[in-house]
């Protein structure tokens, strides 16, 4: 094992991203044609059976989500691609869009056919203006070729706020409002963009679709972990030799990613922790390194896959300092709509700074845990629910590092 397996990055380096013919020459748009020859229910069933789960973080069964939107009665439905990719250290969506934009468009077009939508949006991170160019060229070429049929795709630039990656905040932002999450339910497949049934999927999720349609659900479901089949793209940063990206089957373990693919820790340093999934990911200790990078297995150790960012820390790193910075990040990125996150991120940042400055007490740590606990199940959106994870996971696994700083 610990072999790379490229599904979403299948065309990486093999095609000219700015030339649709080169995509078509690799078999591009065959899947869309095949999909359009299938009835909508059968197509959605196939996606369901593949077991594909969202690659944007929440891990929801993709076909099931499409089914809700398909079933919803409406005069208009939308397909939205979440390409906000605001997570520091993450660039997997950019890799796909820059190197193989047509596969994203094809995935979206298949979804549009499945649910009965004729309008799509790609909400692209504001810091990726060159990617927007690539996408616009790709869309223009696809229109010229007529491969998209009557499905129209428009690119929207993100507003630069981290929370706008949350699907309902993203929808608000496309609508021209302040990018703030809505309460759920109703979920977007029932009432999304302009209150119409809307599918929001991640770039990586869509990029899997043409392959699933082409090779079949069974083929896909057999790859990786059964409850989270397929592959996952990881981007490696921090104290690791190979600071690059890998696409691996989801039964690969964290240890394999860090030590085999990632080449281990530079110098003669020892492993301290790895944070997976981005800023809100859990800090995973040595003891949990044999966990496979599949959604449920990760959840069992209190971790997530999130965006697929892998941030490795060696034993020279000061965990409390790192988490204090993260707390500052969330204090800054909270949108301020709901009370527990608006107040909780601020209080967490204050308390972390206090502890980091050597002025904290055991009571402060207890208070941090209480805030984190309450936020994790009371906040309006995933940002506030996940923001305490770094704090809670480090208090759990690296208590000694905290104790060393207390009064």
């Amino acid at each position: 094992m610990a072999e790379e397996l490229r599904i979403v990055l299948r065309n990486y380096g093999k095609i000219d991203p700015l030339n649709i013919d080169s995509y078509i020459a690799q078999g591009g748009y065959k899947a869309l044609e095949k999909a359009r020859g299938t009835d909508q229910k059968g197509l959605i069933d196939e996606v369901k059976k593949s077991g594909l789960r969202g690659r944007g973080g929440a891990g929801f069964n993709c076909g099931q989500k499409w089914w809700f939107a398909y079933m919803a009665q409406a005069d208009q439905k939308y397909v939205v691609c979440n390409a906000d990719e605001g997570e520091p250290g993450t660039y997997k969506d950019r890799l796909i869009m820059q190197n193989d934009p047509q596969s994203l468009l094809e995935g979206m077009a298949i979804c549009a056919y499945a649910i009965g939508a004729d309008k799509g949006y790609i909400y692209c991170r504001g810091e990726y203006p060159y990617v927007v160019d690539v996408l616009n060229q790709a869309i223009a070429q696809a229109k010229d070729k007529g491969v998209l049929g009557d499905f129209d795709i428009e690119v929207r630039m993100g507003a630069g706020a981290y929370v706008c990656g949350e699907e309902t905040a993203l929808i608000e932002s496309i609508e021209g409002s302040r990018g703030e999450p809505r309460f759920k339910p109703p979920f977007p497949p029932a009432q999304g963009l302009w209150q119409k049934p809307t599918i929001v999927n991640n770039v990586e999720t869509f990029a899997n679709i043409p392959v699933i349609v082409d090779k079949g659900a069974e083929w896909f479901a057999a790859i990786g972990a059964p409850d989270y089949p397929g592959t996952k793209v990881f981007t490696l940063t921090g104290d690791i030799n190979n600071k690059t990206f890998f696409e691996v089957p989801t039964n690969t373990t964290i240890r394999e990613i860090v030590y085999k693919l990632g080449g281990g820790i530079p110098g003669d340093r020892k492993f301290k922790a790895v944070q997976i999934g981005g800023t809100s990911g859990a800090f995973i200790p040595e003891a949990d390194l044999d966990t496979p990078v599949a959604f449920d297995a990760m959840a069992a150790v209190g971790a997530t896959l999130g965006s697929g960012a892998v941030f490795v820390l060696d034993d020279s790193r000061d965990i409390v300092d790192v988490v204090t910075r993260i707390a500052g990040f969330f204090e800054h990125e909270s949108c301020g709509k709901c009370a527990p996150c608006r107040e909780g991120t601020m209080r967490t940042a204050e308390l972390m700074e206090k502890i980091e400055a050597g002025e904290g007490s055991i009571d402060d740590v207890a208070l941090l845990e209480k805030i984190g606990r309450v936020m994790s199940y009371s906040c309006l959106c995933g940002l506030g629910q996940a923001a305490p994870t770094p704090v809670l996971s480090t208090i759990r696994h690296f208590k000694a590092d905290y104790n060393a700083k207390l009064l």
């Binding site: 009370a339 208070l367 309006l380």
Partner: protein, 574 residues
């Protein structure tokens, strides 16, 4: 119907109900803060969270819809810890100022703190340190007390369509701010005060004029005279622990004497007078081809709105001053003369259901008596405070009558307090003036009630008059856009800025539910029915006023004292 279990109790509720609604049905109270019964769901405070079996996340009761077989628990340790921690964090940036606060005793945050047994808050007190905004004469904003529920924003944008308030900043820097300017006075705010009713706490309130009143009372040289607006009596009862409408007028009058008023008169008197002036103005416009439709002009929030958003329609506004300002101009001229009191000594106080009236009284054009016509305006709430301060037991207080010459009134004046009332009062008089016949049934019931826009066509001996009535400025906007487009079929339009009319005014007892406003409307028509004289032109003291002083409606004196003009507010951004 959907069957669910709440705390072990089975309940069957209509599909689409929320947990909060279902809980109400079984008599379980779930604490809330951002929830407002007449507004859209916000779900931003998270105080109402509950446990739902099978879900790791707590669910906000105000927003979570029920589903068949749902099992809800509203008071588990997990729930209680979450609620308490959230409220503790809110309180930890909140000024600990209850003792000095305008909402002391009527504050939803106070109630929450009590319900959740908040004692030793583990969070360090960190007040945000915003400046208090006292830029308008009508209402203040105290952002440090804001809990960011956003109810004021919805009141201002959805109910009033003014959009004077918005959210600025993110995270802990998020704050409700006036739009298009630093202070409220720079915003398009029309000072209706509906945001005060929407606010659960003391972050928005009326500018109080209680100290000026007490100073005037304390000065033996000053003669303190008051006028009471039609919508005040029934609501003031709510301030002193009685049911709406329960305080008899004559006991109320004595209460006012007890707190220091030398003379108690009634705005109803000038409401009747308004009908004579405005009714004749309408007939004149119809006969002489003046600007139509004519708009009523007694609601100062509406006047501000028209001046701000529809300056092109100012000619449609009746030139009649509001009853408050007619009263102010007369009390320091006609009444002073009749009572042989020097107008310089008169301190004229009006008691109003309204905060926009404070702004109106301060308008530079409102000095036609040679003095400030109305010195200060006290709201129903402020009078409630003064009553409580005085310690009067209204159950034991004997009655007392109004003082003479500007105290008599008819049922037509009383109904000014409800949406449709000014129109109905006008129709009662205009009908008799035009037809010369006696109006047998004075009740125009089709234009009563809480519908946002009401309309009617009245046949005045062959002269068909189309009228429309709107309350709340979002409804007014619909009629105005029609007028602007040249498509308005009406001759006469009544607009009240506040929901339900003055009974729902920004200065009334804090009113969360429209149901309360509807109760007050009912009380007002009951009062009208109980009066023997119900047509403005039959008011005996108004007759004396015309005989001895004004001589005729729209005459020279009237123009000098009772009519006014309007200004384009020229808000540059609108």
């Amino acid at each position: 119907m959907v069957n669910i279990t709440i705390n072990g109790m089975n309940v069957s509720v209509p599909e689409g109900s929320t947990i909060l609604q279902a809980a109400q049905q079984v008599g379980i109270h779930i604490p809330t803060l951002c929830y407002h019964p007449d507004q859209s769901i916000k779900a931003n405070c998270r105080v109402c969270v509950c446990e739902v079996e099978g879900n790791r996340l707590l669910q906000a009761a105000c927003s979570a819809p029920v589903f068949e077989g749902m099992v809800v628990r509203t008071n588990t340790p997990k729930v209680l810890e979450a609620r308490k921690t959230i409220v503790e964090m809110i309180l930890a940036n909140h000024p600990q100022d209850c003792l000095n606060c305008i909402r002391n005793g009527a504050c939803e945050l106070q109630t929450l703190a009590e319900e959740l047994i908040i004692r030793d808050n583990p969070f360090e007190l960190m007040i945000r340190g915003y400046d208090k905004d006292t830029s308008t004469p009508s209402l203040f904003r105290d952002p440090d007390k804001c809990v960011l529920c956003r109810r004021c924003i919805e009141a201002c944008s959805v109910i009033q369509s003014v959009n004077a308030l918005g959210i600025e900043g993110r995270g802990n820097n998020a704050m409700v701010v006036p739009s298009l300017g630093k202070d409220l006075i720079d915003s398009p705010c029309v000072m209706c005060g509906q945001c005060i009713h929407a606010c659960p706490v003391g972050a928005i309130g009326e500018i109080e004029n209680i100290d000026q009143f007490l100073a005037a009372v304390a000065d033996p040289e000053t003669i303190v005279v008051t006028q009471i607006a039609p919508a005040v009596r029934l609501a003031i009862a709510e301030e002193i622990g009685m049911a709406t409408g329960e305080l008899p007028m004559d006991v109320f009058v004595n209460g006012l004497r007890q707190i220091g008023f030398d003379y108690v008169l009634h705005t109803n008197f000038t409401a009747d007078l308004t009908i004579l002036e405005e009714g004749n103005e309408l007939l004149k416009r119809v006969k002489e081809g003046g600007t139509l439709p004519m708009f009523t002009s007694c609601s100062p929030g509406w006047i501000n709105f028209c001046e701000t958003f529809y300056p092109d329609l100012l000619d449609n506004l009746s030139t009649c001053k509001s009853p408050q300002q007619m009263f102010g101009a007369l009390v320091k001229t006609y009444w002073a003369e009749k009572m042989n009191i020097s107008p310089a000594k008169i301190f004229s106080v009006s008691i109003m259901p309204c905060v926009a009236k404070k702004f109106e009284a301060d308008r530079p054009e409102m000095r036609d008596s040679g003095y400030k016509d109305v010195d200060i305006v006290l709201t129903t709430r402020e009078i409630g405070r003064l009553f409580r301060q005085s310690g009067i037991d209204f159950n034991k207080l004997p009655p007392s009558n109004f003082d003479s010459w500007m105290g008599a009134y008819t049922g037509a004046a009383v109904i000014f307090g409800a949406s449709g009332g000014v129109m109905e009062a006008a129709l009662r008089t205009v009908y008799e003036v035009v037809t010369g016949n006696t109006l047998e049934d004075v009740n125009f019931t089709t234009i009563r009630g809480f519908d946002g826009i009401k309309e009617a066509t009245v046949d005045l001996n062959g002269l068909e008059v189309n009228v429309a009535i709107a309350h709340s400025l979002s409804n007014a906007r619909k009629l105005m856009d029609q007028v602007r487009a040249g498509e308005s079929p009406y001759h006469f339009i009544e607009i009240m800025a506040c929901p339900g009319g003055c009974i729902g005014g920004g200065g009334q007892p804090i009113t969360k539910r429209n149901q309360k406003r509807i109760e007050r409307i009912d009380a007002i028509y009951l009062e009208d029915e109980g009066l023997s004289i119900r047509k403005s032109h039959e008011n005996p003291e108004v007759k004396v006023l015309y005989d001895e002083f004004l001589h005729e409606p729209l005459g020279h004196k009237s123009h000098e004292l009772l009519h006014t003009h309007y200004h384009d507010k020229k808000k540059k951004y609108l």
